[in-house]
Subunit: 470 residues, 4 copies
């Protein structure tokens, strides 16, 4: 998961990009970066950590111009460090180019091997660097042509922004896996409206831009001195928007493809209530992602909704793990139970998903320790049985508890009285409304139905890579 | 506002104190400090910023011993800086002494002047330093005697912890303005249970300690080699627990004086619904403090509760204000509206209080911009008309909008359709349950009924103080 | 060892103080601090480390006013940390007061015990804090009166500067152990000249001030709105200026008490050549302190002077000690031998003193490894046999190699062919010129003739002090 | 100017490299970097600033293995920042490769343009990156073959080290412009000796390695599992060692091509004394580079040598420029005059070169202000009239004062009584001894006789490059 922003034609574009990245902070906390241009050259700054820590007023002032792109990167197990931070900015035959990428190229190992054989060098373990090489080696005459040419050679999921001194390019892959939205910013009287793109429309809200529409799958938006145009460089494919964006990733105040995330989550809860009701005294969410689903669940069943778990505002990356010797005190750093809500009650607790089961187990224990008489775990999505190869950092299949355990077995492991999942059909109904079918969305993590082929898991990581400390 | 923790008799006491302070982080984000002892000497570390940033594993290892006290300090307008961070640690005739203080001595200026005339020197602008001087100048033979002697000379609100190499002392003032709770920690088999004190019992939850009871007003707890004992060094006074702790300060998962904060807030909302109902489509809280009250308000009126405002998890102290030139984009950093909840709706929004009115005004505008047809602001406490002199940082009377404006005038200023406050009686009923009367609580900020005299506002700040940069 | 600066009546006094401290950086690298005043209040900043790292332009701008004092502190074994950094700034009955101290009060433990019994509290292990308490407790009506009163109760060595909002006070102790010089700064046309004091006149050079004279022993200079005046609050004593300032501490470009340090060092070398000639091919200094003495030594004997040892410019406090396992590679970080100068040569190497002998031993080995045929160590001062109690951080007697070893034994230990020291008479002749007698200087570290009594070594360090981490 | 170190076969190679870089710190203070290998992969760390600040014990521990290369980089006007720090570490078809480069490729713009046309991308403005691309695109089967192939396409000056997981390669260009020395490290009993290369043999001294010899022009040293071998991949060219290394850059304790730098500098001074004697009372150096030349000058004329200027040990990159308003106080931060040496004297001051003349002008003023009656500036090298294109950062011709001004005109500008330069013949005699001719050295900065062609000055900098902030 990552987030991208692009702005063309607004004074202090880097400052607006900074605010837009702040609104997308939930999509990636490992690193943040902005590249701007004043029309003459590119200016770049990247840093590990949160947007607000990566940038200061002097840094933003060193990023001049009315065009910029920005990127926030998700913390992944391997391949982190400043070297893999984005946007990537390089020089090549056509001048300077910067790229910010949300998604994953499934064939990148294969293309990288081919490029290395042809003499390319790599500075990072990022799949995005492969794309930059293809652009540089393309024989097309224009940046737009080269970007199209390069992307045609890549498979997988991408919502991606490019900046040169002369143009902003935004592309959504032919399946439309990852969201990407178009907006305009017209607040300066006397100036033509600026063009804005962002992973989610919440970024528009913060900078005062107006949402226009989501990019269509396979669409390329180009903004330059002559205006904004829409291109279709790729063959048509069926849309396969990531359905998990609605369940977990996107902000509740976002609409994606015209569908409100908040409303969808309430529907997830309501359908879950129909499919897996629980005879309980109180419904509580695992905050913050489970709140809307729990409201939907409680509302449908007519059971009181309460905040039985409080989330700390102050737990960040620098929190020290308590040393081994005092672990058994049972430390709970991020969530704390509200005894007044839980004591002596039968509780349904709503979470968005179960990955390995270890966190759920801790939450169930915490609820029981606070006096819950029964704990019924309800998940507002189907069992997560398959890894994602399109940009979400999931563990391999053998670590996914639902890949090998029935709901009853999962309940046993997490020590809850029952576990109930949403059905895949229920999920689709919640997202799409009441129409039939499951087209239009990728649900591979639940169904194993992968729209795009991918390298085997063993294909990665075999390479000797320089340490990413710089 | 501040938070304190004290631990006696647990291995790695500084690590436990660190976790306890983390649970009290909401009571103060300006600075954090811990003083520990191994029985031979004291060890101290203080730093500006959050608990998790102030301490690292090596720092905790440099704070050895099985006894410690800790303090988090609230950000106040003046008088900040590392110099005013606590615990204060000094040497004096009896050895070393450390002090962490939550509250405010109302007669500190007067005592300080007297001490200066007698030759005392001051390193900070903190009222706590005055107390340390009184302890050092006392003619009593024991630390306990000196502490009692000194506190008898001070007036005001205090929940306070002391550490020497040989004893932990915790004291709550005769009115019991600020909370202070006693717990035990008995997880180590074969060891006698450790004694723990903390501003709120939530701190016990995190470190696995068991809540025993709140300290009584005027009680002093002393833990030393011979065990734990309770003393009553002061004359009896009527309890006047700060009622605003229930409305805003304390964590919802805390019980104070045996009363659940979460339950109280739901009752605040329910009584508010009776006193000031609103004919609306949806009830939303200003997160996070307004959530429980909004649940109570919505429940009593049978109107849907929704999360119409999302709070960013990532806004910290380092966030850059966008530069002046782009301010008019209407930046909203901490809260964002959920259009799907608000569009076309009549909305009741529940907040805990209105101080100057500027924040409420921004929130109302945000809700209207997101499509709310009507906005009815409901406050889960009475109008804030008087400054607090007992440890809460409130502005002077002429800045408190409710001191000079009727609810209708406030509504006009904040541009809401209506504004409704809870009554003072309603507040007391919500906190105390259904019994009559208003005894037992300080509601001076609402009523102007101050239990303890204080210096006039002009009495402070006249002094030339060294800059608090160190 | 420490260095002090004081300025009265110059715009941007903190900036000038900063430059003055830079010129005195050799007198202390552990911490640096400045307190300024604009006439209304005091402003302070202190930091561990070098002057250039402790202050930045924004910090200097936060120290406004036309009066300031500054301090650099020497790194000592115990009692370091920010808590012991100076100037100390406090509030007391007369307002605010800041103090910067170079020297050592020999009776401070005794006075501190007395003060604690009377109710004083201590925030540091610094002897200077004792003085501040005495000032605060004095019954004199003026700051000048209180300072005099307090200093009369203290024994030992001090050159000390005080700043209040209204006056700058500089005092040199009755024996004049430590240097302190008076200057004026008259560069602003139309403004009266500013008054400047500093440990060494080199600080005047850097800020463009003019040297006026050294303060006399027991003299107090007071600068305030009415001008500058000289007071004599103490009884007359014989001057006992620290003679080791000339040998090692002071900058070669300084004059102290009218005597050029550079010239003195050349004379030390010349007299050493007469007293302990060496039949060698080349004379080399241990840079940088031995350079002038080596020039004098070589010149008197007519033997070539060469730079046989190069000193690295880049070794600071942060240099990592190579890990134990590679120590035996024989790492030499600060000094490196010039083989071209040394190979096959008989070498006289001139150093200022031998403390424990370990450094000399490494230097001799380095010279031999670089090909020196003979190594004759010549010391431009007498054997260091006694600890200093007047402000220089020397080890206890049993660590001073010369306290128990003859020159021949020292030579054996450091593996040089011979060792030769200057005589005490020779030292005095070099410093004072050719006149008879040894009056006027303290040579206790060489002679054991202590002008002022002091507590026994066992008298210190018995106290439990809070960790100096803040 | 830069410095390089390479180590093959010594445990804790990164720690030794760190020490070696410390010894070469004078060759570059902008950035420092080390890449190590444990035989399986490469590990890298680079940082802006000094070696001692760039590395800590944990960082060195994260650089495991018995082979490593290191690099210190000179601060240049443009093209700085972390992006241009070295070693550069990349992945390509043969695995991982790291490169550290001292020198300058004169045809790099041309090759870069060609590579970009063929699809290469560039992450920095460094000429070294061009070389890495050529290696990646080479069709040779081995790293050695590819490195040779790539270097054959580059012109200019280079002493360069390469590290793969399997081999250390060190190359000196066919003219031998920049120094590069070979050593062995045999301190571990039972282990075969390690191979070490470094820009100057001083680096060997610090780590306990033994100097073997300088690499010959055009020589390539390869160390791998099978041992160490010397290759000659290039056509023979005449040696053109940079003569300015002897005058200024190299450490005085180094020997380059078997010639002692210290001895050479003394001869520069002696010949300068013959060519441009001065009728003065005292000879002083501009420390530290002028010391040996001043000894030679003074010795030849029989005039006393003194240290009339003291250099501060504490001026680093972070020193704040005093604010504009106090500039006229005449601040002198790095050098201070010793009045005792200068007052009333006729002074010859020896410096290594004059670039723009501004620093010399300040020094002359400082000497006169300190009382010098006459100031005669003597330069231990010929007039610097031409820019260097082989790795030294010199300004363009029109900024070089000697390119357009006679010695008399220079004297007028710097306000000295006279200025005297060494002749080009004198320079060569000093370096090479008494033999005839000027072969073997590059003296282009003095003579304009450039051994290798270069792009015109206008050829650089035309490109739009990303900001080097990351």
């Amino acid at each position: 998961m990552c987030g991208v922003v692009g702005i063309w034609g607004a004074p202090q574009a880097s400052n607006l990009t900074y605010l837009g990245l702040h609104a997308l902070q939930h999509r990636g906390q490992e690193s943040a970066g902005i590249v701007s241009s004043d029309g003459g050259r590119l200016f770049a700054h990247k840093s590990l950590g949160l947007v607000q820590d990566a940038f200061s007023q002097p840094v933003l002032e060193a990023l001049p111009g009315d065009r910029a792109i920005g990127h926030v990167r998700y913390s992944t197990a391997g391949g982190g460090g400043l070297k893999n931070a984005q946007p990537i900015a390089v020089d090549y035959a056509m001048g300077s180019l910067a790229v910010g990428h949300n998604g994953n190229f499934t064939n990148f190992e294969e293309v990288r091997t081919r490029l290395e054989a042809a003499g390319s060098i790599f500075n990072s373990s990022s799949d995005t660097e492969v794309l930059v090489h293809l652009i540089a080696r393309s024989r097309e005459a224009t940046t737009v042509g080269r970007v199209s040419d390069a992307l045609k050679q890549m498979q997988g999921a991408y919502s991606i922004v490019f900046l040169t001194t002369d143009e902003l390019i935004a592309v959504r892959d032919p399946h439309g896996f990852r969201p990407l939205c178009l907006g305009t910013l017209s607040s300066y009287p006397g100036l033509p409206g600026a063009t804005v793109v962002a992973s989610e429309p919440s970024a528009f809200e913060l900078i005062g831009a107006e949402y226009v529409r989501d990019l269509e799958p396979g669409e390329m938006i180009v903004a330059d001195r002559e205006g904004v145009r829409s291109l279709r460089p790729f063959e048509t494919r069926a849309q396969r928007m990531c359905i998990f964006e609605y369940v977990y990733f996107a902000r509740p105040d976002s609409k994606l493809n015209g569908i409100s995330v908040y409303d969808t989550r309430k529907r997830l809860g309501a359908i879950l209530a129909e499919e897996c009701p629980a005879d309980v005294d109180v419904v509580i969410p695992v905050p913050d992602s489970g709140v809307a689903s729990a409201l939907g669940y409680a509302g449908r069943l007519g059971i009181p909704f309460e905040l039985g778990l409080i989330r700390s505002h102050y737990v960040g990356r620098t929190f020290i793990e308590p040393s081994q010797s005092i672990r058994h005190f049972g430390v709970k750093l991020k969530l704390s139970p509200v005894r007044a809500v839980l004591e002596g009650k039968r509780v349904a607790v709503i979470d968005d998903s179960i990955v390995r089961g270890t966190t759920s187990r801790k939450i169930v224990k915490m609820l029981r320790d606070a006096g819950a008489k029964e704990v019924h775990l309800r998940i507002s999505s189907p069992p997560t049985r398959w890894p994602c190869y399109y940009g979400i950092d999931t563990p391999s299949r053998n670590e996914l508890i639902a890949a090998s355990h029935s709901p009853a077995e999962v309940a046993k492991y997490v020590t809850s009285d029952t576990v109930g999942y949403l059905s895949i059909d229920g999920l689709h109904r919640a997202v799409r409304g009441e129409g039939p079918g499951r087209q239009g969305f990728c649900d591979a993590c639940f169904s194993g139905d992968y729209p795009v082929p991918f390298a085997t898991e063993n294909g990665t990581g075999k390479r000797s890579l320089p340490l990413a400390s710089v």
